[in-house]
């Protein structure tokens, strides 16, 4: 525990008399400690007096009119992640359900949390809780993962909604498939599969092929999906950390090795990253450096965290932020962090992986490829450190 934390505990009256006496004795000899106590002591009052913000009038107007602002920009921020997962996911306005954030899932599998309306393969699904939605297009993959989504027109997306088998598995709460006259209500633990309705005719850059029997395909998929659901339920029961829930399901797009940009600032070259990490490691109390992988652009850093509690990745993220702010670079920085927890027999390995790079150097392709590299590295690490259980003879 740091001196600052001891001071904070003293402020809350959580130290024993002896501990408090020792700390006060030290404060008389250490001006820095006394200054810290002075700052900390006044902190609650200053925090309590923090003024409230004025709400932008247009925001209140939107709230009262039940319309959402800034939806599309958020959608575009999700795209790199969605592409990396092999999933095309866009957040769009939905005229019939203005009160709920709406996502469009064209293909792939997605865990949904909270109160969300999803247009899954053309089928509207309203989720209130936690559910998994999968969409399997009848005509095979729709598009290459590296395609620029930003350039796709909405008409093209609509045209891409050509027949699909949609499965909804409710883990918590409830779901309503196809709200309206033919609605199917699902409770926790229930699964439902539907073939999607025929697509609307309209403009699009994808030729519409003859559809095979939707029912037959739906039936075949139902068996596969039932098996898959059983696997997932077993997996869910054994997982301790939520981070693991999606990990196995979001298969990363492998992509192709990335070249180092010609104009990359020195701070982001392998030597620059290694120096910055070395400096921040000196401040790191509850994590150890595992590796810095600079085989391709960008370098990514893997640390093993020994912190307890559910915020175990927090201190690494904090150091990463400080490290980035100290780098010799004035421009915008793009960074992303992954937290991985893996439980072995009686041990939990916790890894935090991140990269930092100039913002304009992280294209969707780079983002996708980096995610694949990181997932692979973590899988290797976990496999390397998994000690077979001798009692089981494995």
């Amino acid at each position: 525990m740091t001196d600052y934390e001891l001071l904070s505990r003293m402020l809350s009256g959580e130290l024993s008399r002896a501990e408090e006496r020792d700390l006060k004795t030290r404060m008389k000899k250490e001006p820095q400690l006394a200054a810290a106590w002075e700052a900390l002591h006044g902190l609650p009052d200053i925090l309590a007096a923090m003024p409230e913000d004025e709400v932008p009038p247009e925001l209140n107007a939107a709230v009262l009119a039940h319309r959402r602002v800034r939806q599309l920009s958020r959608a575009l921020r999700l795209v790199p992640w969605a592409l990396a997962a092999g999933v095309l996911l866009l957040v769009l306005g939905w005229p019939d359900a203005p009160s709920e954030p709406t996502a469009v899932l064209v293909e792939g599998r997605q865990i949904v949390d909270g109160e969300v309306m999803v247009l899954a393969g053309g089928v509207p699904v309203s989720i209130d809780g936690r559910a998994e939605i999968s969409v399997e297009p009848l005509d095979g993959p729709l598009r290459d993962g590296s395609q620029e989504v930003n350039d796709m027109k909405l008409e093209s997306i609509a045209a891409a909604l050509v027949g699909a088998v949609v499965t909804v598995v409710v883990y918590e709460g409830s779901a309503l498939i196809n709200p309206g006259a033919d609605a199917v209500a699902l409770a926790a633990g229930e699964t439902h599969t539907v073939g999607s309705p025929a697509p609307p005719s309209g403009p699009g850059d994808r030729p519409v092929t003859t559809r095979t029997s939707a029912e037959a395909l739906a039936s075949a998929s139902r068996d596969e999906l039932t098996d898959r659901v059983s696997e997932l339920e077993a997996e869910l029961a054994s997982l301790t950390f939520e981070q693991q829930i999606n990990r196995g399901r979001l298969s990363a797009h492998e992509g192709s090795p990335q070249e180092w940009p010609d104009d990359l600032p020195a701070a982001f070259e392998p030597e620059g990253i290694k120096e910055a990490v070395a400096a921040s490691m000196a401040r790191m109390e509850d994590a150890e450096l595992v590796s810095i992988d600079c085989d391709e652009f960008p370098c990514f850093v893997t640390m093993e965290s020994f912190a307890e509690g559910d915020d175990w990745s927090g201190s690494v993220e904090l150091q990463r932020n400080i490290m980035t702010s100290e780098m010799d670079y004035e421009g915008e920085v793009s960074t992303s962090t992954w937290a991985h927890a893996h439980q072995t027999n009686d041990d939990i390995q916790k890894y935090v992986t991140f990269y930092v790079a100039p913002e304009d150097s992280i294209t969707e392709e780079v983002s996708s490829r980096t995610k694949y590299r990181i997932e692979s590295a973590i899988e290797d690490l976990v496999a390397e450190n998994s000690v077979p259980d001798e009692a089981d003879g494995e």
Binding site: E5, L7, S8, P51, L59, G309, E332, S336
Partner: protein, 182 residues
């Protein structure tokens, strides 16, 4: 400035039924508190603010004005739950954290009022806390939420929340003292 009066039970009932004027009164009265929470604790404050109000309007009929809970506490609890939900989703996905605000070390102009300067420095320091610690510090010290209530919402032991609070306050103090040191 004197605190604004609480809204009447009748206003809340009308707001729950969708009365536009009553909802306007509710948004005017409590919007600044919710927006402040979103700005301090969410990477997407505008979305956060709108989503919380959507939840409030949907659940307002469940709030009992004659019950023991104050409306502001009930609203803060909804905001807290919403933030936890969003935080968990971002953790799973791998969050891209905007770093534009990290350059908040710029010294404040001497002419600023001391209190305002304190607030600005604190806001900058708050932004540098890990999300879990920041949530506890903001909700407890700024919004007055008891630690056991925060623990209940987060689904963790009170000891964990206290630990986050101490680490958060320690980090804030460290940043503030460092800023003062020439």
């Amino acid at each position: 400035m004197a605190p604004l009066p609480d809204l009447s039970a009748d206003t809340l009932r009308r707001a729950a039924r969708g009365d536009a004027r009553a909802r306007r009164a509710l948004v005017d009265r409590h919007g600044p508190m919710l927006y402040s929470i979103c700005r301090r604790l969410s990477p997407e404050p505008e979305d956060c603010y709108q989503e919380i109000w959507e939840k409030v309007f949907r659940g307002l009929h469940r709030f009992d004005p004659s019950g023991p809970a104050r409306l502001s506490s009930w609203l803060a609890t909804i905001a807290h739950r919403h933030l936890i939900d969003r935080h968990r989703r971002r953790q799973v996905r791998g969050e891209a954290i905007p770093l534009g605000e990290l350059s908040a070390d710029t010294p404040q102009a001497d002419t600023l009022m001391a209190a305002r300067e304190n607030h600005q420095r604190l806001e900058a320091a708050l932004r540098r806390l890990p999300e879990g610690q920041r949530r506890v510090v903001v909700l407890h010290h700024i919004n007055g939420m008891p630690l056991n209530k925060i623990a209940e919402q987060e689904g963790v032991a009170v000891g964990t929340i206290k630990s986050r609070l101490h680490r958060g306050r320690a980090r804030l103090t460290q940043l503030l003292v460092r800023e003062k040191t020439p």
